[in-house]
């Protein structure tokens, strides 16, 4: 059974300036030392990206994350994906996770669509045999047909989105994390996606999607959470979304 628990999650980003990426300059700093090294290591400047976030999701929940740019939606998604380790609190995700946060997944752009399916399947935890068995189903759902044999660099972003979505929902992932890019899909794809996402409720899976579009959130999600400057509201039912939007922002009391 899939479930997600986030408790008192806080995350700080160390601020590393562009010029301190050079080892040469770092070494020079150390060699000069003395009065120039005013800042000791523990006072390295950092940015608080998430502050005391709490949420609990169970099977069948589809949570929409809403908030302005820079409020921490993608950061929270990355914490759920396991990419960021919390500085305080904890994140617990049970179930196979498929994260659709970066369409290309770092795969070389000359790789074909089929190779991408294979890679995504492997990252999601399937064996090569299982992927081979599912490839036809994924190919059908993506609607890309002969394009699957062509390199990803020939795809539009909408096509990439279709492929990524088809793969992620076919690998029996129990937790699906999406950043706002479903908007690049055309109307036909959106209808298909919605149908598939709704069926995830029947399969007792969890969806977390970050979005700016209230209508998208209303059509897909059954719960919503609002973020502002790294702070989150509580999880409310989708019917209370208007009330949640009308309230003062969660970070405004700080």
């Amino acid at each position: 059974m899939a479930d997600i628990t986030v408790s008192d999650l806080s995350l700080h980003f160390p601020i590393i300036g562009a010029d301190s990426q050079s080892l040469k300059r770092y070494l020079k700093q150390v060699a000069i030392g003395g009065s120039l090294a005013r800042q000791d290591r523990s006072s390295q400047p950092s940015l608080t990206a998430l502050r005391n976030v709490n949420l609990k999701l169970g099977p069948g929940d589809r949570l929409g994350l809403i908030g302005a740019n820079g409020s921490g939606k993608t950061t929270l998604l990355r914490c759920l994906a396991g990419a960021y380790a919390p500085d305080e609190g904890f994140v617990e995700v049970n179930g196979r996770v498929a994260s659709l946060l970066d369409l290309s997944m770092g795969i070389d752009a000359s790789a074909t669509g089929l190779e991408n399916i294979r890679l995504r399947g492997l990252v999601a935890g399937l064996t090569p045999k299982e992927i081979a068995a599912k490839t036809d189903e994924i190919a059908d759902f993506s609607g890309l047909g002969p394009f699957l044999a062509m390199p990803m660099k020939t795809y539009s972003s909408g096509m990439q989105a279709r492929l990524a979505f088809a793969t992620a929902t076919s690998v029996e992932a129990e937790v699906l994390l999406m950043d706002e890019w479903i908007a690049v899909g055309d109307a036909g794809f959106r209808a298909q996606a919605q149908e598939r996402l709704t069926s995830m409720l029947e399969r007792a899976h969890i969806l977390v999607i970050a979005s700016h579009e209230p209508s998208l959130v209303r059509s897909i999600c059954n719960k919503v959470l609002r973020m502002d400057h790294g702070q989150a509201s509580e999880v409310v039912d989708i019917v209370d979304m208007d009330e949640l939007m009308a309230r003062p922002a969660p970070g405004s009391t700080l």
Binding site: S10, F13, P14, I16, Q21, S22, L23, K24, Y26, R78, C79, A81, G82, A83, Y84, A85, P86, D87, E88, G89, F90, V91, E92, V93, N94, V97, S99, L101, D102, S104, M105, G106, I107, D108, S110, A111, E115, R118, L119, L122, V123, T127, P128
Partner: protein, 271 residues
């Protein structure tokens, strides 16, 4: 999957241990990523990795024959020496250079999944092993030509190779962590490797006069290659294999794990 804040020094080791055990559970993923890397590197190429085999063979023949004449050594003595030296050096230097880039290459995956960091080093190790497999034909061909049959001594060479792989892994992981923070490292590493290549007896036999120089008596690169070369050519297992390289592997991994323990949470933020 459970991720929590840093509690204390010892609990981090449990997390580090979990990273490594998850890596070993995901060996098929590492293998497929490595295979995908090789496919994309040689996409559109006719001979693929065999180009490198051809280039290395040409170098082996050129250096072997010329230097034999230049330094009045027999081709029979020098050519197999050069062949094994160049092939193993190619593997060694590629492993170190690519190891440093392992996290940068996998940045997209590190930033959106819980794939453990050591897996990216394993991917690099497998990828380089596949490339090495294409070069081994040079060693086999040269040994067969000169009718050198190592027999059971191949086991010593294999042991030397395994110790080499273990050493390259910790060096790779260490460099990967530093390179994710300091983007100059890969260039520095490449420059140092080039220097080491010329200063070490990889493709030239050290004369007895140089036996006490550091490049011959305290050179882990030379020892690593000798641990494979000597058993194959002379049936001798050099003492440095078990006396130097094995302790180096143990100490190296111990130090690397301590540094990994401290750095593992930070890597994603540097990328």
């Amino acid at each position: 999957m459970r991720r929590s804040g840093r509690k204390d020094y010892l609990s981090e080791f449990a997390e580090t241990g979990r990273d490594f055990s998850e890596t070993f559970n995901k060996i098929p993923l590492a293998f497929n990523l490595a295979w995908q890397d090789i496919l994309s590197r040689y996409r559109g190429s006719v001979l693929g990795p065999w180009w490198i085999t051809m280039m290395t063979m040409t170098l082996v023949l050129g250096l072997g024959i010329n230097y034999a004449a230049l330094f009045h050594q027999s081709i029979r003595e020098l050519l197999p020496f050069v062949a094994i030296g160049l092939v193993m050096w190619g593997y060694l230097s590629a492993s170190i250079a690519e190891g440093g880039d392992a996290f940068v290459l996998g940045a997209a995956m590190i930033k959106q999944s819980s794939i453990p960091l050591p897996l990216f080093i394993l991917r690099c190790t497998i990828r380089n092993a596949i490339n090495l497999a294409h070069q081994l034909v040079i060693i086999v061909a040269v040994l067969a030509w000169f009718q050198i049959f190592p027999g059971v001594n191949m086991l010593w060479a294999l042991a030397g190779f395994i110790i080499l792989v273990v050493n390259l892994s910790w060096v790779g992981l260490l460099l990967a962590m530093f390179s994710s923070r300091f983007r100059d490292m890969p260039q520095i590493v490449t420059a140092v490797l080039q220097l080491v290549f010329f200063l070490s007896p990889i493709f030239w036999k050290p004369p007895p006069a140089l036996a006490h120089s550091l490049f011959v008596s305290a050179n882990p690169f030379y020892f690593s290659i000798q641990s494979i070369r000597e058993p194959l050519l002379h049936g001798v297992n050099p003492p440095q294999t078990l006396g130097f390289l094995l302790p180096m592997a143990v100490v190296g991994w111990a130090a690397t794990i301590l540094i990994y323990n401290q750095t593992r949470r930070r890597v994603v933020h540097y990328l």
